[in-house]
């Protein structure tokens, strides 16, 4: 934990002490830790000299930030319009059922976290599911197990 703090301290100091640094700092923190922890909120608030509630208020406004630890692999089901009309919702529900998690949560074994995303911009290949950095196109419910088996 100590090292993370020292490293994060370095990141903090690379940004000017102004409110404009808040979102980039939250993004850096999440890129490093995978989520926004209570400690991160405290540290950023102290550094920028603003209240913790303001940091959390901003962080919780934007969909990019998560407040629970992510799993080893991240599953994002696209629910853009093109994916919706091609059955994206059914895919999300199947993941929820198979993994026994709700969007935004992580499985008990910390292997997968499940997320809904508004649009990945691959609408011509709908419906799409993103696992880590791979986008799987033209997915249907019977392909889900096969996709997950590639991410152990």
């Amino acid at each position: 934990m100590q090292t993370t703090n020292i490293e994060f301290e370095k990141i903090l100091h690379s940004y000017p002490v102004e409110v404009g640094s808040l979102i980039p700092l939250l993004q850096k923190a999440q890129a490093k830790l995978g989520y926004i922890s209570i400690e991160t909120v405290e540290e950023i608030a102290a550094y920028l000299n603003i209240t913790e509630s303001m940091v959390f208020g901003v962080a919780s406004f934007y969909s990019q930030f998560r407040f629970t630890e992510p799993g080893k692999h991240s599953i994002s089901v696209c629910l853009g319009t093109a994916c919706h009309v091609s059955g994206g919702e059914t895919l999300l529900e199947s993941f929820e059922r198979d993994l026994d998690v709700k969007p935004g949560e992580c499985t008990h074994d910390k292997k997968y976290d499940l997320n809904r995303v508004a649009c990945l911009g691959c609408c011509a290949l709908a419906p799409v599911v993103k696992v880590d950095n791979d986008i799987h196109s033209k997915v249907n419910v019977i392909k889900l197990n096969e996709i997950l088996s590639k991410y152990e």
Partner: protein, 625 residues
């Protein structure tokens, strides 16, 4: 010192040597969409095939040419022939096509899409003669899929930065007049004249001014900006430098979605190259003009498409809008005059400066000059990104360019969650800002989502309202409460729990939210509901009165059923059913217990996917059941 002419000469020489390369050149479409279709794997196969056959060749990654339904796309230039494009090249085909063409000099006639040469070639049509392309006018997207987006010299060799070079010799006021005369209107959706926006900001006295490019493409179903930035980042950047010079800005910001990682990489790389050639920074191309540019990653909030919200977000606050005036062009970022332009708007600027206002005005119709890009998606045969002159009819876009739908065409949705559904009776509507508003929709940023008889209009309205109520920032009551309430009404209609007066309630609520909300998000939130009620009221009534969903989508109103006569008893559905709702011994028709069935669609899909199963599982709704 201005080194541009020298750089131009060098770039053109390099481009010529690539076009007339002795070694074969292989171009691979590697934008996010190409990668999603498997372009990374194809690249591995290409590299291996070249290695195994000891062929020396250049492999170049390009962006996306817009024909997404043909991904992955591979182009080959060899044997002194023009560049040939091949479509739907999976791993297996990549090897076959490469061997055939590079070793046996035979191009596979089933996979070849067209050539990029200027003269006819061996029975192969020009790439631009394909049905999807022949009615397009490609200005903003002209380099997409053609040049390597990571190499500034390829952009320069194709008339890149000529516009900037020319602009720096003009007076700022002259450029603003030029853009005004060309009639360029904001491509983010609202269609405000770009020249007037620039003029206002230019004329406001202030020591500091800002230019922001809004690349926070938040409309679900739209990817025009992603594709342009991934395929030709300099098109945007050149436009930004020109705009900044015209307005008198020395600091510019690109606000881009964090969900577009590849676009961010491309932009950062492109900006570094601009620095190297003095196209950004101090004294650009030896002039007195300096500009500094940085990226801000948006953290995901649809409302940040609204100008004042976007400004708050950059300032580090919650992205909530404020009342206007003052307009950002007078008081924007940190209280300073600020111009916010969309990616496509800025991407058009350099072309206008280079070719003049009259040239631009030859495209489009009066008051709606130029071209507009659209992402043509949904239940359409040829999906992808297109660019057409404004004033083109929806029918031409959907049927001539897009090839129509497999099943019966039902509606087209324009303008994303703020737009509306346009029925087939209005397909001859020309696409302009005004005509789309007249039919109850909006131009929006360019998403065109095509729907066929398998799409439920009520479910779609519910989908948009669900999106909007989640994305409502919560500042004003009509939007915060009204959108939520509209969503709940729609949910009840889809669940078969509606009461007879629900449709009237829904309509009056939609109008109320539309007229009383603070910002564009709320003011357009009613559009999906109002247009669908206007054009598809019978379908709503079928849901409310008959518990019938004609598209067989609304889950509470449908049942799954096994047609005994068709069922071969293959047990594939039994194996995929997550709740054990289907049972039956092998080789005998199966039983489906509707009490256990959660309507997950797994059995339906497998029954259609597997040839031995025989399409035995069907979905029925109210009227038929």
């Amino acid at each position: 010192m201005n080194n541009f002419p020298k750089l131009q000469k060098k770039s053109k020489a390099e481009w010529d040597s690539l076009v007339h390369s002795k070694e074969p050149v292989i171009h691979l479409g590697m934008a996010s969409c190409g990668k999603a279709a498997g372009a990374d794997k194809v690249k591995t196969v290409v590299l291996n095939t070249l290695k195994q056959n000891k062929i020396k060749a250049k492999v170049v990654e390009v962006g996306c040419i817009g024909t997404c339904y043909l991904e992955p796309i591979m182009d080959i230039t060899a044997h002194g022939n023009p560049r040939l494009s091949f479509g739907n090249v999976d791993e297996k085909w990549a090897e076959i096509i490469l061997r055939k063409y590079l070793i046996e000099k035979e191009h596979n006639r089933n996979k070849v899409l067209g050539h990029f040469g200027t003269i006819p070639f061996n029975g192969v049509p020009s790439f631009y003669e394909q049905p999807m392309l022949k009615d397009q006018v490609r200005i903003v997207t002209k380099n997409c899929g053609i040049i390597d987006p990571s190499d500034i010299k390829q952009y320069i060799a194709n008339e890149g930065y000529v516009g900037l070079s020319k602009a720096l010799e003009m007076k700022p006021g002259e450029i603003i007049e030029l853009i005004k005369n060309a009639g360029l209107r904001g491509r983010g959706g609202a269609g405000f004249p770009t020249g007037i926006k620039w003029r206002t900001c230019h004329d406001t006295k202030s020591g500091e001014k800002y230019l922001i490019c809004n690349a926070d493409e938040g409309d679900p179903g739209a990817f025009m900006n992603r594709l342009l930035i991934e395929s030709d980042p300099h098109a945007l950047l050149e436009g930004m430098v020109i705009a900044a010079y015209a307005i008198g800005v020395t600091e510019a910001i690109i606000y881009i979605r964090a969900e577009y990682p590849l676009a961010i990489v491309r932009l950062n790389n492109a900006i570094e190259q601009m620095k190297e050639y003095n196209l950004i920074g101090n004294n650009i191309l030896g002039s007195k003009f300096s500009l500094h540019l940085k990226l801000k990653e948006g953290a995901g909030a649809f409302v940040c498409g609204e100008e004042t919200s976007l400004i708050h977000s950059i300032e580090g606050k919650r992205g909530m809008p404020r009342t206007r005036p003052p307009f950002p062009a007078v008081s924007g970022l940190y209280g300073k005059p600020t111009v916010i332009n969309n990616v496509e708007t800025l991407g058009t600027v350099a072309h206008i400066v280079r070719n003049g206002a009259d040239w631009y005005k030859q495209f489009g119709v009066d008051g709606n000059f130029g071209t507009k890009t659209f992402s043509l998606v949904g239940k359409i045969r040829r999906s992808g990104l297109i660019e057409v002159p404004l004033g083109t009819t929806l029918r031409k876009i959907i049927f001539d360019i897009g090839g129509g739908t497999q099943k019966e065409f039902k509606a087209v949705q324009t303008g994303g969650p703020s737009g509306g559904c346009i029925p087939k009776e209005l397909l001859d509507t020309p696409v302009t800002y005004e005509t789309l508003a007249k039919v109850g929709s909006i131009m929006g940023s360019g998403g065109l989502i095509v729907m066929d008889s398998d799409t439920c209009i009520v479910d779609l309205a519910k989908y948009f309202l669900d999106f909007i109520q989640k994305e409502s920032c919560g500042k004003c009551t009509p939007c915060r409460v009204g959108t939520r309430h509209m969503f709940e009404i729609l949910e009840k209609i889809c669940n078969g729990q509606a009461e007879p007066d629900y449709l009237d309630k829904l309509e009056s609520l939609a109008n109320l939210v539309k007229t009383t909300s603070l910002c564009g998000l709320g003011q357009t939130a009613g559009n999906p509901v109002l247009t669908t009620l206007r054009y598809f009221r019978p379908e709503y009534i079928e849901h409310v009165d008959g518990y019938y969903c004609p598209a067989l989508v609304c889950r509470s109103l449908i049942e799954y059923e096994v047609i005994k006569g068709r069922c071969t008893g293959c047990q594939r559905c039994v194996s995929v059913c997550p709740t054990g709702a289907i049972s039956g011994p092998r080789s005998e028709p199966h039983n489906l217990d509707t009490n256990k069935c959660i309507k997950c669609r797994a059995c339906y899909e497998i029954c259609r996917f597997d040839a031995i199963a025989g399409n035995a599982i069907v979905i029925t709704s109210g009227k038929e059941a």
